[in-house]
Symmetry: D2
Subunit: 158 residues, 4 copies
Amino acid sequence: MTSIPPAPAGCFDGPVHLFTVRAYFEDTDLSGVVYHANYVRWFERARSDLVRLLGMDQRAANEAGEGAWAVSEMTIHYRAPARLDDAVLIETRAEEVGAATCRMHQRALLLVDGQPGPLLAEARLRIGFVAPDGRPRRQPADWRAAFSSLLPAAKDTP
Amino acid sequence: MTSIPPAPAGCFDGPVHLFTVRAYFEDTDLSGVVYHANYVRWFERARSDLVRLLGMDQRAANEAGEGAWAVSEMTIHYRAPARLDDAVLIETRAEEVGAATCRMHQRALLLVDGQPGPLLAEARLRIGFVAPDGRPRRQPADWRAAFSSLLPAAKDTP
Amino acid sequence: MTSIPPAPAGCFDGPVHLFTVRAYFEDTDLSGVVYHANYVRWFERARSDLVRLLGMDQRAANEAGEGAWAVSEMTIHYRAPARLDDAVLIETRAEEVGAATCRMHQRALLLVDGQPGPLLAEARLRIGFVAPDGRPRRQPADWRAAFSSLLPAAKDTP
Amino acid sequence: MTSIPPAPAGCFDGPVHLFTVRAYFEDTDLSGVVYHANYVRWFERARSDLVRLLGMDQRAANEAGEGAWAVSEMTIHYRAPARLDDAVLIETRAEEVGAATCRMHQRALLLVDGQPGPLLAEARLRIGFVAPDGRPRRQPADWRAAFSSLLPAAKDTP
């Protein structure tokens, strides 16, 4: 009886979302390390996983014409390079939740023997919910509640 | 005590390598489905995982100037589209192993409730080991042995 | 008075569409050459440019829910590697045009002093027009006529 | 006699580097607009073109083991979305040049009838020259001089 490896999925450690990626050939560039724009894609994977785990169905929202999350600003610091075959942990935290926006903090850490090691890159970003015409739109109320449950204060009020 | 999700990794079911991916925003295009070139990247991830599990250190081989695997030909049939958040199983089989080449067969199957469902895409490809100057080169003997262990006949001779 | 460089655009040499790309960091991988999946993206750029020049508005067709072109099969042979800063010519030819499908042939040639040089990669592919639900759909009649004007026979019947 | 379209290349308007890109299927995501990480790749293309035009041979520097430019920090603001087939102008300015680093400012503007229109996205970033082992390294003296020629003051001291 075959055991299929689990589909990629992260989990929550309290309000912190944990997600892992690995560096493949597609991620590297000729300097031998992971291309800087690919961290931006890794961070998106982690956020998409986070909202999926929170029960927000982005595909349905898009197909229903309700809207989608879009990044409106992002600051990334690159601290150390990742290389082929490296396993990387992405931590994601919500820092602020509004009617149509969220601020998030994401960190990419090299996994060494399965444990978080050196910081590779770190991002702060603001995402906004936008209608199909590109205009800001209030996020669904239950989505806001779900995001808010990740705010630091929530740690203290279980 | 936190449990970090495992780093992405596939496994072998006999000679068949199994690997999972998930479709994120980065993978889709404006038609709402996964962009065709991204299956090519998914298949590469699976092959890179396969060779990693077989003990071939591609990073070291590259850094030592020994060479790298390169795709020399590839035929892909697209059968059905994948969409955002879909989990996808990639099966990889070795079909022929030579001194400097391998032929492989890869299939991408939609995972439905964790079980393989409809076929999304399928590829046959030939990879060749090439020196840094781009010329074909014999693969290391132990790599060839490792690949050969995946050939269909190997199923019968455990 | 500033002269803005022209927006990327190809042109036709009779029925052959010509388009150029250049290899940037994003295109390379750690082996120092262009990553194989990126030729697939380069070929798509050339086809998207071709249909744009033929007057097919894919964006409008998608937004109107009419459908989109999707690759249904593709065979690529990789002949020689491209490297950072290389300029590459993509030639695209229509080989067969049907109610809902086209067969195309694409070649990527290194540009040496602005002239076509060594063949880098070559693809044959079949694209199909599909409705938003993924089912095949007849392409608009004027699109079919436009594609047909590129068939080899058309060379003889101006 | 065929006229091959020119290879992608930008130009300088005084100290400002101008470069154009176009949005293809590969650039979009299911929300119908250009995926945010792809602006990061567009900005890289413009910078790689800029350094190429300044006479810095990044490929040779990499192959000789001298090092490569790496992004160390980047802030991007997304102002308006780009869509399929849009032509986009990327303006790049040097803001500060050091022994091993540069600060640059990049803007992506929609091209409307060949003229710069609405601002789509804007980035400030710091790049550092790094040795193959990842450590900061002084950039070659002539590279520094070339970058410095783009500093605002240089406009006044021809």
